[in-house]
């Protein structure tokens, strides 16, 4: 898929995200929009998958460790066609297949239950280790949040991944700089990130997380790395694509008014 086409996909996903957040109800808008380009690049270009079978036995794995950004994943899965786009209107409704956080038992294409922060990266490591036993060449991709790095479990997983040389694992860090209550650096500073991950034995590469071309190139670079896990630090903007929501902690799990909703869709070209 061309970069232009991928950008269109990402734009379409952003519109789906706004549609899922809707009017007058809380939704994880900011963190879903910050990872949209990364998720689009993975699902629509990088990962091996079967459009007709979410359980295809040769597929690559996608784990959303920062599970609260599920809307970005749902937008991609609907776009692929794993379920009807109509389902997007029922996110978080009672008995809906689209839960507040990714649920493998309910949503086709979701690999594990994530969203209790810190756990997804460990699950990704376990999958990568299982694939190694089978000498499989399937890849594991895991999107981690920067606020999530506060969880001790992340660093347990970081050590395990490098000890077991899980070079079939690529993590992408959504480095938008904000956590639920505000600026990470002012609250519980987790920097310096590249140095930390390198010292834990990971290959580290930094990119603009909204430049599709850079994302794809970084994923290609990561493929060449052997013997260690890979971390792509994606510098992103929380709320990306909707100017009034960009870099605003209020839209971490915010509510859109009717006016904001319409404005957001307008910004995204609808």
């Amino acid at each position: 898929m061309t970069i232009e086409r991928l950008s269109q996909k990402a734009r379409s996903m952003r519109r789906s995200i706004v549609r899922m957040v809707g009017v007058g109800k809380a939704g994880h808008l900011g963190g879903s929009l910050s990872i949209t380009d990364v998720v689009a690049a993975l699902y629509f270009s990088k990962m091996k998958l079967d459009k007709n079978n979410p359980r295809w036995e040769k597929r690559d794995y996608f784990l959303l460790s920062k599970g609260h950004a599920a809307l970005a994943q749902y937008a991609a899965l609907a776009e692929i066609g794993y379920f009807s786009e109509n389902e997007l209107d029922h996110v978080k409704s009672l008995e809906s297949m689209l839960q507040g956080h990714p649920d493998m038992s309910k949503t086709p294409g979701v690999e594990a239950n994530t969203g209790s922060l810190g756990q997804g990266l460990s699950i990704a490591c376990g999958i990568a280790a299982g694939l190694k036993i089978d000498k499989s060449n399937r890849q594991v991709y895991c999107v981690v949040g920067d606020g999530e790095l506060d969880e001790g479990q992340i660093w347990e997983a970081a050590m395990a991944a490098s000890f077991y040389k899980l070079d079939n694992l690529t993590a992408i860090l959504d480095n938008n700089g904000l956590m639920a209550t505000g600026v990470i650096a002012e609250r519980f500073d987790s920097s310096p990130l590249p140095e930390k991950w390198r010292s834990f034995g990971w290959w580290v590469h930094e990119i603009d997380g909204h430049a599709i071309k850079s994302i794809l190139e970084a994923l290609e670079e990561a493929d060449k790395v052997k013997g260690q896990p890979k971390m792509i630090i994606a510098h992103t903007v929380k709320g990306k694509g909707i100017p009034f929501a960009e870099n605003q902690p209020a839209f971490h799990n915010g509510i859109l008014t009717q006016e904001q909703y319409e404005l957001a869709l307008q910004e995204l070209g609808e």
Binding site: S116, G118, C125, G126, E156, A157, A160, Y164
Partner: protein, 312 residues
């Protein structure tokens, strides 16, 4: 009485894991730097490529095992019961049980059985914690014979299981020829005046009490409730039928363990129930296992007294 044959549950556990590992290449194991205590090292020595030393990092270990299971492996995850249940509670809840993943958690050195290490290392709440999570199965073997049968059943069963393993030598009770079924309780001695529902180490205490009571003309049925979830309530009700008293005996807090299970199962029946277990308190260090069991009232004498007082 003839000499009672004894087995160490964790040793039998280690040997069984090795045996099933030879039969089934999908079995893998994780441990958090306690493999020489949990005995998972036996498997690890034979199958280094299927054994993961996860360091002293239980949270990651549980979620990592969830990941292994997603590739079709059957992970057996080991630590002391406190560190295998309470410490990574949320990982068990979200990574494993929510998706009903095929992860087997081994809570070793359970109850007070790690007598010397004291309250930090003794688990008197693990059953309560594990039972409260949807999709979880909780097993509490009486002896080495049952450990072996349970491990084999755990391999067959597809879903999360928590297995309580005692640290010390325990007398053999389980009938070698009996099949172990998840959810079923086993009558290990029959009688009709009183029923003792017990689990784990407390079965042998209950049998001792029943023997003594028999001499006094009191006929006692002893039931090994070795599956603590799911529970066949109807079976417990049937087994209680006609008894003048029901006693529960467990090496666990009275909150959320066997006492809770039996009291709930027998709701509405007019049978007095006497619960024997650990009051709402932590354990502590002692120089021997028996010394601790006596201190917390987990004795044959106490069971006998409870039955006598209830039916006099």
């Amino acid at each position: 009485m003839s000499t009672v044959s004894m087995h160490n549950q964790r040793k039998v556990y280690g040997e069984t894991l090795l045996a099933v590992g030879k039969e089934n290449p999908n079995i893998v194991a994780c441990d958090a730097d306690l493999s020489k205590s949990t005995m998972s090292y036996m498997f690890g020595n034979s199958f280094p490529e299927r054994f993961f030393e996860m360091g002293i990092a239980e949270a990651n270990m549980i979620s990592f095992a969830a990941g292994l299971s997603l590739t079709g492996k059957i992970p057996f995850v080991h630590s002391f019961a406190v560190f295998a249940s309470g410490r990574p509670y949320d990982q068990i809840r979200v990574s494993v049980c929510l998706g009903r993943l095929n992860v087997k958690i081994i809570g070793s050195s359970t109850g007070l059985s790690d007598f010397g290490d004291g309250s930090t290392h003794q688990s008197v709440e693990d059953v309560s914690l594990m039972r409260s999570i949807p999709n979880m199965t909780v097993l509490s073997p009486v002896d080495g014979i049952e450990v072996e049968k349970m491990v084999r059943k755990m391999v067959e069963y597809n879903g999360p299981v928590y297995l309580r393993v005692n640290r010390n030598d325990l007398p053999d009770v389980f009938d070698e020829n009996e099949t172990f079924e998840i959810g079923r309780s086993y009558v290990v001695r029959d009688g009709n005046d009183a029923v003792i529902f017990a689990t784990g180490v407390m079965i042998s205490k209950a049998l001792e009490a029943a023997e003594e009571l028999g001499k006094d003309g009191v006929s006692v049925r002893v039931v090994n409730v070795s599956t603590l979830k799911p529970v066949d309530e109807e079976q417990l009700r049937t087994l209680s039928h006609g008894a003048r008293v029901v006693v529960t005996a467990e090496e666990h807090s009275l909150i959320g363990g066997l006492a809770s299970i039996v009291t709930y199962a027998l709701r509405g029946l007019a049978i007095p129930i006497v619960p024997i277990g650990i009051q709402d308190s932590f354990g502590q260090s002692a120089l021997s296992y028996d010394e601790l069991l006596v201190h917390y009232g987990l004795t044959a004498e106490n069971i006998k007294k409870s039955v006598k007082e209830a039916i006099k």
